[in-house]
Every structure is written in structure tokens, then in C-alpha cells.
Symmetry: C2
Subunit: 231 residues, 2 copies
């Protein structure tokens, strides 16, 4: 029973986030935010995904690669509770858990045939850091995975505070057209750490090679600057 | 990227199935089928499940302990397709996968305070072998895990063939009252291996210490004998 198990990545995901700041806190929060799942050479086999294109959603089991710890803590402070209330680690989706495996359902937008990386899965609604290792991909089965009657504990009762976003057109247009909707969705989710509420503070979100700078006053986020970062 | 990760069980589940034969093929198929999740001593800490009781459903990440293999196969034959069609392993929930980790959502019926095992989670709708190691428990979050619009590929289009079950009262009454509904649900799911359709054959399902013997003709399953097994 105490046996350990060794698991190995089968793929990794490319996303617009090279840093944790700004990543939506669950999958599906930023529906336009896309990712590309690239299989590692050993698993780059069209047979292994035969039939997958028929599914609208897939599960990703992934490595909380930035959250490895030698020890574990019985309680965590979920951002949805404002960062001040503690809940049990097994009552949370916190990355800091005994086995740092994450679970996200994403929409499967398509499968791209590439020259150098074989079949690449295009997914949306991601909540993962760029280069996150993926341990498993499973189809989403509505008849066993979808529970419309489910009650979500503290996650249900917390007010879902979205911000209104003011992104001046001259700044927004600096971003590629296909990234514009996703960046607004991410900002709407309020990337600030819990507890911070300083209207004068300038925050900086690293998104798709751009530094997006903004302020938040009341429930309105205003983008003040967009700087393309050096490659 | 090629890095391995070591994971360790945090709990195990007690169920009525000591053998694979008869286990429902997904979670929720036998809603009355219960299990008891017992934490390993290191994780037996009430703080670690603080707030969990507020959730109606939980995810279990578990070890496909009976399905470890040295190698992996790109395709599998799902029982829902009659066992004759092959789909990609990542387009299936097959236990035979590169990393043998399973994913099941179960209903959280309650949390039992025990003398020797600490808090034990009582769950229903299980699809796991007795003593399956559990790697992680996460709350089911309706806002990110529930996709009523999801399309389930081949799993959707296959006819959902349930059997009608004839379980004579004098045989059924040999089972403890609280197990009777669950055993019927499991039989309704048709425990036979794909492809087998021999009306004369007697099958035997090991359930909760009883040997349940039955035949199947057309779409009707008839229980012929119930034998209590020696402990």
C-alpha cells in the first residue's frame, strides 16, 4: 500500500504565460485562452489519439511544476476566499498538495498536423503555465464527469467578482488580433494577489511576450501600458 | 522535460469488489455502490479535509493497480464499443495507459469519525477495486468541471444497453439489505466481457463476500445462485 509510483510526462503544453501571475485560477475561466499540447517523441503517434477529435473536451493531468515541495501542509488558503481563510488541502485545488498533480478540463479546438512535432492538440480555456508537463490526456465523458446537480462548497458561495476592463484601443492593438480576447478575459478574472487593493499600484502581467501594465481602482482595471518584451 | 515524478498513495478505498469482474465501467453507473476512503496514517489529519463536507462530489486520482505494464500500447478496445473497435489510448479511459492513473468522480455521502482510522470518507457511485491506492482527492468544482454542452465522441453514440435483472427474492435476501440495490445496479450494467453472448453460460461475480451466479439470455440477466464465500 505504501508503494510509490513513478510517472513520466507524455507531453507538454505551450501557453502565453511564462510566469504564474495572471494565469486564470481554474480551467475555462478564460475561454479564448489557447494552448498547444505537444507530445514527447515517444508518444508522438497518431494512433494514440485515434477518435479523440470526436470529443469536445478533454482532461489534462499535469505537473504542478512550480509548486513542488519537500513537505505538505494540511491546510491552504484559496484565493477565492480572499486568501484569509484556510481549508483542507483535499478540499481545495491548490497546487501545493502531497502529490503535485493538477486536473483541468479544456476544450479541444482541433488537432494540427505539424512537420516537426507530429499531431499537436489545440485547446482552449487553459489555466497552465507555458511548458507544463502533462502526464495524461483523457476524454471528457459527459455521462460520468458532468454533474449538473453538484454543490461546490465554499467555491460556490463566494461572490464571483469579475473586474470591468478598460483596455485603450491603441494599446490593445499592439497585441496580435487572435490574442486580444484572451488577454481581456484573463484581466477580467482579477490577476492581483488576494488582499491587495491599492489603486495606485501598477501591476505587470507577462502575456505572450508582452508586458501588460495596469492599475485597479474599485472594480475597474485600466491598462496603462503594453510593452513588447525582448525575445 | 523528461523528468520523472514519484507519487505516493495518500489513502486507499474499501469496496465490495475484490476482483475486477463486475466493477461498473465508469463512476456513477451504480449510484448505490458505496466505498470507504481510509487515509494512510501520515495523511490522517482532520485539517486536511476541512471544508470538504460542503461538497457533494469529489474527484479521486487513483492507481490502476491491476493494470501496471512495462510497456504501453497506442490503441485500446473500449468495452463500450463491443471490444472490437480500437481507439487511441488518450481517447479512452482504459486502465492500460502510459501513466496508470485513473480519474473518477464520486458522490461524497458523508464523513465518518472512526476510532482507529480517523476520518473516513463515505462515497457512492464508485468503480474501484477494493484496496485501490488513492493519490489525490480534489473537490468537484461545478463551475470548471461540469460541461453540460460537452460531446462525448464514440462514448455518446454507442447504445447504452442496460440489462433487465431478475433476482429472485429468496436469493436477494441472502445479501445484507444495504447491499441489495447496489448489486442490482452492477448487474444491470452487464458485467460480461465484451463479445460473450452464450445464454447457457453461468457467470460468477464476487461481490461483498458473496458469489453471485447468473445467466444472460437476450437482454435479461437471471441470478441463479448466491453463495456466501468463506472469509
Amino acid at each position: 500500500m505504501e508503494q510509490e509510483q513513478i510517472i513520466k510526462p507524455i507531453a507538454y503544453i505551450r501557453t502565453d504565460f511564462k510566469e504564474k501571475f495572471g494565469i486564470p485560477r481554474q480551467s475555462g475561466r478564460a475561454p479564448s485562452l489557447c494552448g498547444r499540447i505537444v507530445f514527447l517523441p515517444e508518444y508522438r503517434n497518431p494512433d494514440a489519439i485515434r477518435g479523440l477529435a470526436e470529443f469536445s473536451h478533454i482532461w489534462l493531468l499535469f505537473d504542478f511544476s512550480e509548486s513542488h515541495r519537500e513537505t505538505w501542509s494540511a491546510t491552504v488558503r484559496p484565493p477565492r476566499l480572499g486568501g484569509n481563510a484556510r481549508v483542507g488541502v483535499f478540499a481545495s485545488r491548490s497546487p501545493f498538495r502531497p502529490n503535485p498533480i493538477g486536473l483541468s478540463s479544456v476544450r479541444l479546438e482541433g488537432i494540427e498536423q505539424t512537420e516537426n512535432e507530429g499531431e499537436v492538440l489545440i485547446v482552449s480555456g487553459v489555466d497552465l503555465l507555458d511548458m507544463t508537463p502533462i502526464y495524461d490526456i483523457k476524454p471528457y465523458l459527459p455521462f460520468s464527469d458532468c454533474h449538473p446537480d453538484a454543490v461546490g462548497g465554499y467555491a460556490d458561495t463566494v461572490c464571483d467578482m469579475k473586474l470591468s476592463v478598460e483596455f485603450p484601443e491603441r494599446l490593445l492593438s499592439l497585441l496580435p488580433k487572435e490574442k486580444q480576447e484572451a488577454v481581456i478575459e484573463c484581466l477580467t478574472e482579477d490577476p492581483r494577489p488576494a488582499y491587495q487593493d491599492d489603486a495606485n499600484r501598477i501591476y505587470s502581467m507577462n502575456f505572450s511576450g508582452f508586458d501588460i501594465r495596469f492599475r485597479v481602482a474599485e472594480n475597474c482595471l485600466t491598462v496603462t501600458e503594453v510593452v513588447e518584451m525582448k525575445k
